[in-house]
Amino acid sequence: MENSAIIIKKIKKPTKTSLWGQVIRRLLKMKMPLLGLAFLLFIFMFSFIGPFFSPYINLGVNPTNINQPPSLEHWLGTDKLGRDVLTRLMLAGRISLLVGLGAMIMSVTIGGLLGIISGFYRGIVDQIFMRIADVLMTLPGLPLLFIMAAILSEWKVPTEYRIYIVMLMLSIVGWPGLARLVRSQILSLSERQFMQATEALGLRDVRKLFKHLLPNIIPLLIVSGTLSVGGAILSESTLSFFGLGVVPPDASWGNMITSANSLIDFQKRPWLWIPPGLAIFFTVISINLLGDGLRDAIDPNMKRR
């Protein structure tokens, strides 16, 4: 009896029910998104901390030791220039993840900002931004990326800047969808009574935009941002696979798979292309699982959990 009384007391104890507290609690109850999160943490540590434990990090090419199958010294073997595949996989992860994150941040910033402004001011501003978005959305994404990348190759952009340019290209292709989503949200939020109340309080536009509207769409930005990281990693891999994204000597998962292009590598040396392929596969799947979980956790309409 006494025990149950204590338990009841514990349950009834008022918990701080801030919005984010609830989201985190709901997220912690879901298995697949947590699995995704765990794998992402692993792949981040693998890529960013892993190379420091590798004995081959400072060693470049080694002509005496090329195309070796996996062994105790080289867990994933070596490539055609004698570089350790495992170390390269880690370094490639850095670049692929950075490109994914960078492209996401840029497209969320551009898309979010333009979407908020279009939805709030409407009229001519809205027309201009949305028509630009429409044009970008009617052009097929991949050929557009190819053309941009080809122009860049023509201009001989130094390799160390290439990843930033790849980020920029991906975000140019990525922002219109998000801008539309944000705009539609802002349009519907603007009709809500609390926005009329801010008008009646005489608040400045900046305050309305960034203090009242922005917090309302942050969940949306987080979810679509998370999901877009996966897409960006995939697009980057595609570009790099065709030699148009990140180019050697910099490694990315995409340009590592390029080795599958040659029949001998494809048939006889699977250690060259299977690991980066799996890395892309699992990273993107984890990101999507996490994104879906976040969407469910944030969605206020799903209170029955």
Binding site: R192, G202, N216
Partner: protein, 327 residues
């Protein structure tokens, strides 16, 4: 002679609807003296809220507009004011309490930050000072545990609490004129009484003028100094509260007062005014109440009665009294 805070002259506000242009507010004139409470009474859809929205300049330009008339606030013409000047007036000198406390607060911001906002917008003040003021306001509107309430989100509070918070926000910059659009409609009776008491005492403390919009005659009797009865966008009767309640002249006002349930008396059936509010889009020149009026005469169907003043400051727009005065 007391000074006039708000003066509305011949206000005409029209909305575009599928049926055509409707005049939600039709030639409405009234004024609010300093420190007084004026009540705007009428059935749903008679244009009460449209009056408030016109004063605040909140009519959605896509839906309608103020077509004619003048609105003066302390001799400032609100209809021909620059946009940024209007912004400085709103929330600072004129503020408004909305009908639905549940939907009028931003769900993702804490109550405290929403009280602080107008203070920080309109006054040069540090964040710390604004917070202190916000906590004071929470106490002022009769909520204890102000620190705790300050950090809570709207969904954690009850409707009555939220309405108090709305009042706190409206009062945050000590406005001269408070427009309350059905502030108690969404609340239950005990909370209603508390909110009304609160509004009345705050009004007295701060010498604030108030425009109270309601359909509840009990509320009117409680707080009003002066009453304006609206029907189908027009003012049909107005007068000091005591006169109007004791001696309603317009058949509509009489009907309204009869339709009010009296506590302690159980009637077989409550009185209702027969018929429906007319469709505003299809009105012809006539007394708009004529369809439902038991004293309807032939002239009522042909001409719109103008408003006419009686000795006791009561004003009525009805042909019944016109005839009497002519005869």
């Amino acid at each position: 002679m007391t000074t006039t805070v708000l003066e509305v002259k011949n206000l005409l506000t029209q909305y575009h609807t599928g049926d055509g242009v409707i005049s939600a507010v039709n030639e409405v004139s009234f004024s609010i003296p300093k420190g007084q409470t004026v009540c705007l009474v009428g059935e749903s859809g008679c244009g009460k809220s449209a009056v408030a929205m016109s004063i605040m300049g909140l009519i959605d330009p896509g839906a309608g507009a103020v077509k004619n008339g003048e609105i003066f606030f302390n001799r400032v013409d609100l209809l021909n004011i620059k946009k940024h000047e209007l912004r400085q007036l709103r929330g600072n000198d004129i503020s408004m309490i909305f009908q639905e406390p549940m939907t009028s607060l931003n769900p993702v911001l804490t109550v405290g930050s929403q009280i602080m906002e107008p203070i920080m917008e309109h006054e040069i003040i540090s964040k710390k000072e604004a917070k202190r003021r916000a906590l004071e306001l929470i106490k002022l509107v009769g909520i204890g545990r102000s620190e705790e309430i300050f950090d809570s989100f709207p969904h954690q509070l009850s409707g009555g609490m939220l309405q108090r918070i709305m009042i706190a926000i409206a009062l945050s910059c000590s406005p001269e004129l408070l427009i309350a659009d059905e502030p108690t409609t969404a609340l239950d009776v005990t909370i209603q009484a508390q909110i009304l008491d609160l509004l009345r005492s705050l009004k007295e403390q701060r010498e604030m003028s108030m425009l109270l919009i309601t359909h509840d005659l009990g509320v009117v009797a409680e707080v009003a100094d002066y009453v304006i009865v609206m029907y189908a966008g027009k003012v049909i009767e107005e007068g000091p509260v005591v006169e109007l309640f004791e001696n309603p002249k317009h058949p509509y006002t009489q009907g309204l007062l009869k339709a009010k349930p009296v506590i302690g008396q159980r009637q077989e059936e409550l009185y209702t005014i027969p018929g429906q509010v007319p469709n505003l889009a299809t009105l012809k020149p006539s007394c708009f109440f004529s369809e439902r009026c038991e004293h309807c005469m032939s002239i009522c169907k042909e001409e719109t009665p103008s408003i006419q003043t009686f000795d006791n400051e009561q004003q009525v727009a009805c042909w019944l009294y016109k005839e009497v005065s002519i005869v």
